[in-house]
Amino acid sequence: MRESEHFVQLYESDDFLVGSVSGFIGAGLEAGESCIVIATRTHLEDIETHLGARNLDLEDLRGRQRFVSLDAAETLSKFMLDGSPEPQRFRESVGRLIAGASERGTRVRVFGEMVALLWSDGNQAAAIRLEELLNDLANTHTFSLFCAYPAAAMAGEALAAPFAKICNCHTRVIPAESYADMDSADDRLREITRLQQMARSLEVEIAYRKEIERDLSRRESELSDFMENAFEGLHKSGPDGAILWANNAEMELLGYRPDEYIGHHVSESHIDRDVIEDILAKLRRGESLFNYAARLRCKDGSIKHVLLHSNPHFENGELLYTHCFTRDISHLHESNLIQQRLAAIVECSDDAIIGKTLEGIITSWNNGAERIFGYTADEAIGRPKTFILPPDRLQEEVEILSRLRRGERIEHFESVRVRKDGKQVDISLTISPIKDNADIIVGASTIARDITESKQQRRELAALNARLTRSVTETHHRVKNNLQLMSALIEMQKQPHRESIPMAELVRLGQNIQALGFIHDILTHESKENGDAATISVRGVLEQLIPILQETLRGRRLLPFLEDALLSGKQTTSLALIANELISNAVKHGDGDIGLTLRKDGNIITLEVCDEGSGFPEGFDPEVAAHTGLELIESIARYDLQASTSYQNRDEGGARVGIKFSIERKSHICAAR
């Protein structure tokens, strides 16, 4: 038995293939052999045309089963199972066809293109497997099998191994026509050399490309890793706004799992509808966004303040997708809020709060500073702090700055500054060093409080205190004098050989004490008002005394005629005591109405008491009279008032006692109150 032949032809053009196959099959038919052609429909038609041109009666040959033609794709479908030729089905279809022809005793020629179809479909493994099945068939039956592959389908580094296997499956490999058609051996050697050189070049090229490929793949994986694990959020969304991809940072920021975020519309996480609508409109118009502030709602409901950077990508005027970077600035937003609150506190403070460098240059100037010093922030910032110092206090700033550099804090330091209008302002300063994050002193803050008013209040308080002290001392002195006076008035009642005090004397004593009480009351009241006890209305005191005196008049009338004068406490007291004594004497020794007259003539005060009785006896001498009441009157008049006294009888009858004295220098004459 002759051995089977299984060769493969690589071809570059269909015409070459058709010619080659037609030659192979035509020669077989002409030699009386059986021929089977399994080819694509196009190739079949062309081959049959060629065979017809050789004057072969194909219909006749078909009828005698000498010529069989089959569609390759259709034939394949008979034994392919799950992308691989199934051996049993293969044997029952193609196997049986070839075996049948072989068993009829003639030589058999077969052209098959099924392997080429599988190969071109990318199923190289199935092509190899089919070649192996055909080889198996060749082991039991004798036939000559022609396989053909388009040379172009063999190109590619990845196909090197399957191609080698294909070659190994065949007893003969025929190169494509560009080589096979060469006539001379020299041309073929040259072509082989050229092909060898080309093969080397391609190897080098392949190695180089593989290197690039690895590099690209590494870069791609790096880039992908970079984007996936970037600190900043990043997403890609489609033209409809649906999120196509988002990195870990973006989903972690908002607290979503990939399936909860990707595929959703980008606007779902935006809080402000107008903001996202503006963003999408801008992107659709082809604008890029830079540092666009937005608020996003997290899955847990919390709010993130973000800055967006986004740019659209267009192709042929159509929006394909947009990239968006999402930077979380929530912490900045919070610290901004804190800073704004602090700034508001500083701005609203009544105190001046001023920042300056360690060189004394003003860096901040709040409303309080504008109010206290009269300069606006624009006028003050950038100028040396010394511009509000009075010239005689410039050294003070030098000392303050040197203490600040040592890190000292200066508290409640009182000083003076000059306002814009030139007026000086009393201030209390608290100055603290400002440190940066590295604890280095970089400047100072000054808090200045306007204490002009409080200093004035302190001065007024001190003056009031001094006045009160004087007033208390004065009151104490008066109380002591009054007690002394009362003691003296009581002592006066002690007389030799007298066992008891007459009621009239006690009444007079009582009136004197009451007079002291009134005056004390008035003086104390005056002290409260003006702290000066030297201006008392003498008429006021006498008018208070009169009702008390009237109770002792025994039905007689008291006719007061009182001008007013302002006297010191001592003079008023003395005058009231004298008036009391004189009226008591008039009641006791005189008769008829009692006149009480007080006149003021310039600085001279005259007090007169007169009655309508018998008057003074002939040769009346107050010293000699040794009358208790008169002694008291004389003593008070002389020592307390430095007054002159007169005792006269009136022409119309009755006695008249006059007391005349000058108002003490420190008392003032004013209109009566």
Partner: protein, 81 residues
């Protein structure tokens, strides 16, 4: 000096006192004790003048006085004469 004292009897005294009632009370007490009150004054200056004029045996005077000079100064002045 409640009752008459033999040591003080007939001594001449000057009282310097600005309060009339006190002055009166003092004069009464001094007279009751048998002293002769030669002159009275209301302040230091008058006191010095009276002492130098009357040359009394005794001077009764407060240390604290109204006026320009106090009791000590007044005493210093008339003792210096």
């Amino acid at each position: 000096m409640n009752e008459q004292s033999p040591d003080l009897a007939a001594k001449r005294v000057i009282a310097v006192e600005d309060e009339g009632v006190t002055q009166m009370q003092m004069r009464r007490l001094l007279k009751r004790a048998g002293l002769t009150v030669d002159a009275s004054a209301v302040n230091g200056e008058q006191g010095v003048e009276a002492v130098l004029r009357e040359r009394p045996d005794l001077v009764l005077m407060d240390i604290r006085k109204p006026g320009r000079i106090d009791g000590l100064e007044a005493a210093r002045r008339f003792l210096a004469e």
